[in-house]
């Protein structure tokens, strides 16, 4: 298996799907000539030409809506947001149109579209460039949302998203783009949406995370084992909607303790829903209150000193875990 970056894995997924299905196109700001703001689409303009790899002006509402209209007609557009933070100017197109057209038409019209791009803090770019909207996308029936955390997941899940007949929002992470790992070269390497990944088996506590928080959690789990003799299980949700409730509950029933970790803001965040589900469906298995670690509840700060304190690191995870062990 080749070892490639998260960025290259996305490029492979896009390339393979464009080659496989003539309806797939990639559009967004700077995706073609500039090779992508984060170089995700490097080489693709040369390989597939300007009919498939399309540079747009800075008009998120229009190019998102254009892609939704084209998807209604049977195309499979992949829309790149330079940052997910910029989707807000296209909110109407994603939330009123992509999410609702199938329902409002009584199922007559499908919207097989992918919106993708980075959604993360931690890069000192301030509040307008650091949003993590997976929670309110997940709050919208009609949309799906996934947060791949490894190069292999990036490839296998993006490919599944492109083949999906419903709108899928893919939350990437600029900090993960350079992460390297083994990725299958197989054209049919598909990871189903809605399947969580148990990255570390354990018996004492379930640490449940998504996106970059998965890596923070793994780091914390090693320290918990080495320094505190605690055997933590770490689950990467991978997909928020659909959600692998079964894997979550199984783990909770085994460890009886839960810590939810995310870089999303806390109020009405992903963890809020998951802790509700756990208390509703596995209340009797809990030996301690469910704990949650998330980003500090303030607009994302610019200063390194502030932002480092804002996004949970492995020490926050360890400290929180120790309160329920």
């Amino acid at each position: 298996m080749a070892i490639i970056t998260y960025r290259e894995a996305l490029n492979q997924a896009l390339s393979e799907e464009i080659e496989r299905d003539e309806n797939v196109i990639l559009l967004g700001e700077e995706v073609a000539q500039f090779k992508g703001s984060y170089k995700v689409s490097e080489g693709m303009l040369e390989r597939y030409g300007p009919k498939k790899i399309i540079d747009t002006p800075i008009s998120e509402a229009a190019f998102s809506g254009l892609a939704v209209g084209a998807a209604m007609m049977g195309m499979r557009p992949v829309v790149e947001f330079m940052f997910w933070s910029f989707c807000y100017v296209a909110f109407d197109q994603i939330f009123n149109n992509a999410a609702s057209v199938r329902y409002m038409s009584g199922g007559l019209i499908n919207v097989p579209i992918v919106f993708r791009g980075p959604a993360n803090g931690g890069t000192n770019v301030g509040a307008t460039h650091s949003h993590t909207p997976e929670n309110f996308i997940a709050n919208t029936p009609g949309l799906k949302v996934i947060c791949p955390s490894t190069p292999a997941d990036a490839k296998g899940m993006l490919k599944s998203a492109i083949r999906d007949n419903d709108p899928v929002c893919v939350m990437e992470n600029t900090i993960l783009y350079n992460m390297k790992d083994e990725v299958p070269e197989d054209n049919e390497f598909l990871i189903p949406l809605g399947k969580a990944n148990v990255l570390r088996e354990g018996t004492d506590i379930s640490i449940i995370a998504h996106g970059k928080a998965v890596h923070t959690s793994l780091e914390a789990a090693s320290v918990l084992e080495e320094k505190h003799n605690i055997n933590a299980e770490v689950i990467d949700l991978r997909s928020i909607r659909p959600l692998d409730v079964e894997t979550i509950l199984q783990s909770v029933k085994k460890t009886n303790r839960v810590l939810l970790v995310e870089e999303n803001k806390p109020f009405c965040g992903v963890g809020a829903q998951i802790s509700y589900l756990i208390q509703d469906q596995a209340f009797d298995f809990l030996d301690a209150p469910i704990k949650r670690v998330s980003a500090v509840d303030a607009p994302q700060a610019y200063s390194k000193a502030l932002e480092n304190a804002q996004i949970p690191d492995h020490n926050c995870v360890i400290a929180s875990a120790l309160t329920i062990l």
């Binding site: 300007p50 209209g69 007609m73």
Partner: protein
């Protein structure tokens, strides 16, 4: 870079110098008022219409009006909820423009969509049942008045967010061009909708990428209760297309022949040159913005009566056809009776139809959950279900 979207360009003169009639090769007209009387019956697209096609245009307009009058009554009787935006007065625009469409042309509009829906051939039953919120409605009771769809008839809705459909129409034109089809998308909007930002983003893209989208501004003079003079700077509205080198025109919408000519020319141009256009068509709505609008604050009764008297699209076309000897008053009366009967029958159908079951709330959200056998995803998709009645 040689790019598909920058190549299929028409002659320079097609897209510039809009104010100089001599240098303008476009067939689009910019001023509807200053020209001398034109006999649109003689224009190329109308002169060869068969008598039955002409009668059909009249019939469609009458059907739309009778359907909507009947729906208004149903609303007043409490069978229809929410908003009901009536198209009465504007019928010639939908009927005339849809009649000019070819096989690969598509249409999308805003929430005042009953006229377009009937014009593309949706039947009264499914439309009325949708208004009643019934299972037999075109969207199984999930869309309502503002959200009719018939993709099999190239009709892509029915959209409730003002201006929200303008990028979608662009996408339809994009998909047509991408697939190599010689079709265009008619994207309708109101005068008020021209003040939404995504419309301008769309105009820029339409022109930049040479997309065959035709934006039709149905200018009925009002955005809810706000008259054009109070909501828009710079007249006419369609001239805003000029900033993007898009051909534009202003024409009248009470004469179905004129609408046909306007749209036929624009479609020809879109098919031939793969270029967008902005067509402002003056029209008028007789009823309030929606049924909930008492219509007493922003215009006078006299204004409405004046339009009805002089420009009612149905009366005008009826008189025209009688004068042409294509139809008699008696035949018109028959068409009218039939349309009323059809509308009445649709109301009876809607009333007799069952409501959807609450369990159907969960259908039609995702393709995937509607096709469990074919789904490739796993995991939980829904988190709360309708309470069971037991």
């Amino acid at each position: 870079m040689e790019g598909l979207y920058h190549d299929a360009t028409p002659e320079e003169s097609d897209v510039t110098n809009k104010n100089d009639p001599d240098s303008n090769s476009s067939t689009l007209k910019h001023d509807s008022s200053s020209k001398t009387e034109v006999n649109f019956a003689q224009s190329e697209c109308n002169i060869n219409l068969s008598s039955s096609a002409k009668v059909d245009l009249l019939t469609q307009m009458i059907r739309i009006r009778r359907f909507e009058e009947r729906s208004l009554r149903a609303y007043q009787q409490g069978h229809i909820g929410g908003f009901l935006h009536l198209y009465i007065g504007q019928e010639a625009v939908a009927v005339g423009s849809v009649s000019a469409m070819g096989q690969d042309d598509h249409i999308i509009t805003a929430y005042r969509d009953h006229g377009h829906a009937l014009a593309v051939g949706m039947d009264m039953d499914e439309c009325m049942a949708e208004l009643f919120g019934k299972k037999t409605g075109c969207s199984k009771g999930k869309g309502g008045s503002m959200h009719f769809f018939a993709p099999d008839k190239n009709f892509w809705g029915g959209h409730g967010i003002v201006g929200g459909q303008t990028p979608l129409g662009l996408g339809m034109a994009f998909a047509l061009k991408q697939s190599g089809k010689k079709g265009a998308c008619l994207c309708y909007m109101g005068d008020g909708a021209t003040n939404q930002g995504p419309f301008y983003e769309s105009l820029n893209l339409a022109s930049l990428w040479n997309l065959p989208v035709i934006y039709i501004i149905e200018n009925n003079g009002y955005s809810m209760g706000t008259a054009e003079s109070r909501h828009s700077a710079g007249e006419p509205l369609a001239r805003r297309g000029e900033a993007f080198d898009i051909d534009w025109s202003v024409t009248e919408g009470h004469n179905v022949y004129e609408v046909r000519e306007t749209i036929t020319n624009a479609l020809e141009q879109a098919h031939k040159d793969c270029r967008p256009s902005v067509l402002e068509i003056n029209t008028y709505r007789y009823r309030g913005h929606s049924v909930a609008d008492p219509d007493q604050t922003y215009r006078s009764k006299e204004e409405i009566e004046e339009y009805k008297k002089n420009k009612d699209p149905i009366s005008i076309f009826k008189d025209q056809l009688v004068q042409e000897g294509v139809i008699t008053d008696e035949q018109v009366a028959e068409i009218d009776v039939k349309a009323k009967d059809e509308a009445e029958a649709s109301a009876e159908f809607a009333l007799a139809s069952p409501f959807p079951d609450p369990t159907e709330l969960m259908d039609d959200i995702y393709w995937e959950t509607d096709n469990p056998g074919k789904s490739k995803s796993e995991g939980t998709m829904f988190f709360e279900f309708p309470k069971s009645n037991s």
